[in-house]
Amino acid sequence: MSSATRPGDVVGTDDRVAALAQTLRDSPGPLLPRAAGTKDALSTPPAGASPLDVRALNGVIDYDPAELTFTAMAATPVREIVELLAAQRQYLPFDPPWADAGASLGGTVAAGVSGPGSYRHGGVRDFILGVRLLDGSGRLISGGGKVVKNAAGFDLPKLMVGTLGRMGILISMSFKVFPLPEAWTTLRVKTEGLTDSLTIATRLARSSFELETLDLDPPRELWLRLGGRAAVLARRADRLARFVDRPTEQLTGSDDVRRWQEARELTWVGPGSALVRVATTPGKLTALDAALAAAGAQRRYSRGGNAAWLAWPEAHPLTRLDQILKELRLAGTRLRGGDGPPLLGPPQGGAFAARVRAVFDPHDRFVEI
């Protein structure tokens, strides 16, 4: 196959990759890849396992602004990519969390995390095009490609999203990107409470407004961001304010930027708590919110009520949260703080998951999921 079709083909002869493959083969126990370590719950090895430093896998391999795609090594900081793209008026619409804290591209894929901006165009799994990885036997595997459409063979890039560093060592990845909106503005909406917020969120989700974000901060705030041509932004914001029909405050310029930077960096999470992201639905938010409030957990709801970010207080065992999630049939991932297994709630994928995972890790070189 021609080199141009293989994401990060350059790494095939890369000493850094060869060294990682050797470490993997020689390791007496399971390894857990770690780049910047911004999601410590996912990069801190459990007893009996060792960390695997992958920070050497750093650098953008290829970026063609006219093509709206790029390929980068897994440990490349997201922030570098965001800056590189912004210089060409492009962006990663899935809005990776902890970019300022130093999060890597590979860590973002492995954790399967997307930021508030994923409301508009989709999450990390909707933008990944290609991947190279070392499987548990130290083989360098590539899947997908660099073009925006590819139906040749199993979709390994999509599978890698959320694998938590437990099905392979991500080496490099290709993504599609979108044109960066020219300007932004945000409406902070005061509602009458969570039920009212949800009613408005549902009306918005079914409307033709193309919102970049739709966040619900309990108990009484909605945050709506619009992006696009500066010339029509004010008119759109007016129309949006009339539609929601609640008291609003409009944020522009640095105020707008700061709000979403804080949301993306999760700066509201207090020390000592465990940060968990729950995959939920607007319909289950009321029940989830009541259970979280009873436990005294801080929480924010993003992506139109599909992502619940919560700070589980140190005083309560995580097993209680696990129980709550099982009862509500919601799955969560612990990203920061706390201890125990990172996945909470009902197990996912059943027999399918067990069989596929065994293919990637036949010799137990990775930490169990």
């Binding site: 006219a66 093509e67 499987d135 040749a152 979709d155 979108f178 033709s208 041509r229």
Partner: protein, 462 residues
């Protein structure tokens, strides 16, 4: 014989009118839209419920008889071609909408439902299902899942994979699993992402939960005619790089235009090439973007430009485009639909090469494709009655695929590997990568019963 034992079991399970065994009755299922491949199945089960599909799959597993689940049989790569010595599980009767939840913007449907029926059912709620393959009025959602189908509007909205949230699946040994969930977010590995596009090798999707999108406030469609295919390709590269985010960008060449005019008469400009560009969204945004698009198109020196926001005119434009594959039947007795991808910046170069290949091999090629994605669909025309014509057409198709790979693209954008491109996948994929795919397949289906021989050649022992 295992097949005989299976048929005995099926006779006990199913009423006579839903188990086809006579060759004459099975013949209708012996091929899909890739008609050059035909295999007569041992039997066809017209499944009536998801429970029945599970029972039939389990019975096939017990007797080690291969099976293919078939929706509407519109695969262009032979994805639903029957397997030698195997049975067909026809999914068409599993066509219920289980529920639509407009508040959560999701719909759960049975896998045999026709794609466009979801949007029809969701429209009164102001919602639609985005994946829109040209065959949307006949193809099944289960098939869309198996092949991660695209369509003209996936430029902005993404492929089927971006619109499927949850799947109820029967694994090839009869075990039931649920992959994904109703949330747009996930937790843990994206097992669902692996299943979508796996061409029926990892099991049968029974129920599909899809996300629905709100209908756009307005849509603006532009037709621009060009003096050559290359010029149209260049214009598309300019549009893609302009900072606009059209929902669709399509190109048709003179032969495709001629074919469309001969069938649905969309009234396209008479030109060597035509680009269709569509913007949709909030009114203010679309109006401003349309002005910017006009500037980019004017700079690309078109022969003629027309635009419309009228829904009837727009429907006719798309009817012409979407009928192009079948309309080509007006131009030649036979044709091969090819599907390849090139980087969007190399469209003009790729199109010039297709034109040159067509001339040098003396084969007529009609071009109609999703240009915004770099997804080419050359239609290679021939007359099967003429000696050597099929071989020349196939050789041209192969040349086009190799060109796609050489330019940094892919051998399929949305039609999949099926039986048609299995050899190309082997030729053009690294050994380790192919070996991993095989290991995944064997881990999930050790006896290679589910759609054996598609995408991957079966193991010699199978």
């Amino acid at each position: 014989m295992p097949v005989d034992r299976l048929l005995d079991q099926l006779r006990r399970m199913l009423p006579r009118d839903r188990l086809l065994i006579e060759a004459a009755a099975c013949a209708a299922f012996s091929c899909d839209a890739l008609t050059s491949f035909q295999v007569l199945p041992e039997a066809v089960v017209l499944a009536d419920s998801t429970e029945e599909v599970v029972a039939v799959v389990a019975a096939c597993h017990d007797e080690r008889v291969p099976f293919v689940a078939r929706g509407s049989g519109t695969s262009l790569s032979g994805g639903s071609l029957p397997i030698e010595g195997g049975i067909v599980i026809a999914m068409n009767r599993l066509n219920r909408i289980v529920h639509i939840d407009p508040e959560q913007r999701v719909a759960t449907v049975e896998a045999g439902i026709i794609n466009s029926r979801i949007s029809e059912a969701a429209r009164p709620q102001g919602l639609f299902f985005a994946p829109d393959p040209s065959s949307e009025s006949v193809c099944s959602v289960g098939g869309n899942v198996a092949f991660n189908s695209g369509g003209a509007h996936c430029l902005k909205h993404g492929m089927t994979s971006s619109h499927v949230l949850e799947l109820k699946v029967v694994l090839p040994d009869g075990e039931l699993v649920t992959l994904g969930g109703e949330s747009l977010e996930g937790a843990g590995p994206n097992w669902l992402g692996l299943f979508v596009g796996s061409e029926g090798l990892l099991g049968v999707a029974l129920e599909v939960t899809v996300r629905l999108l709100p209908l756009p406030e307005t849509t603006h469609t532009v037709l621009a005619a060009y003096p050559s295919l290359e010029a149209a390709g260049d214009a598309v590269t300019q549009i893609v790089g302009s900072g606009l985010l059209p929902v669709a960008i399509e190109i048709m060449d003179a032969l495709a235009i001629q074919a469309a005019e001969a069938s649905v008469k969309p009234g396209y400009p008479d030109a060597p090439a035509l680009a269709i560009v569509e913007l949709e969204g909030e009114r203010e945004v679309v109006e401003a973007d349309a002005e910017a698009l006009d500037v980019v198109i004017a700079a690309s020196e078109p022969l003629e430009v027309r635009s419309t926001t009228d829904s009837a005119e727009r429907a006719l434009i798309w009817q012409g485009r979407k009928s192009a594959f079948s309309a080509v039947g007006w131009l030649a007795p036979d044709y091969i639909v090819q599907d390849g991808v090139v980087p969007r910046t190399r469209l003009a170069e790729a199109l010039a090469e297709v034109v040159a290949l067509s001339a040098s091999r003396g084969v007529r090629v009609a071009n109609v494709f999703h240009a915004g994605d770099g997804n080419l669909h050359p239609l290679i025309l021939f007359d099967g009655a003429e000696p050597g014509a099929l071989e020349r057409a196939e050789a041209t198709a192969g040349d086009i695929l190799r060109m796609c790979v050489r330019l940094g693209g892919s051998i399929t954008g949305e039609h999949g590997i099926g039986v048609e491109k299995r050899d190309y996948l082997e030729e053009l994929t690294a050994t380790e990568d192919l070996a991993l795919m095989r290991r995944i397949r064997l881990a999930v289906d050790p006896h290679e019963l589910a759609n054996r021989g598609k995408m991957l050649a079966p193991q010699p022992a199978a």
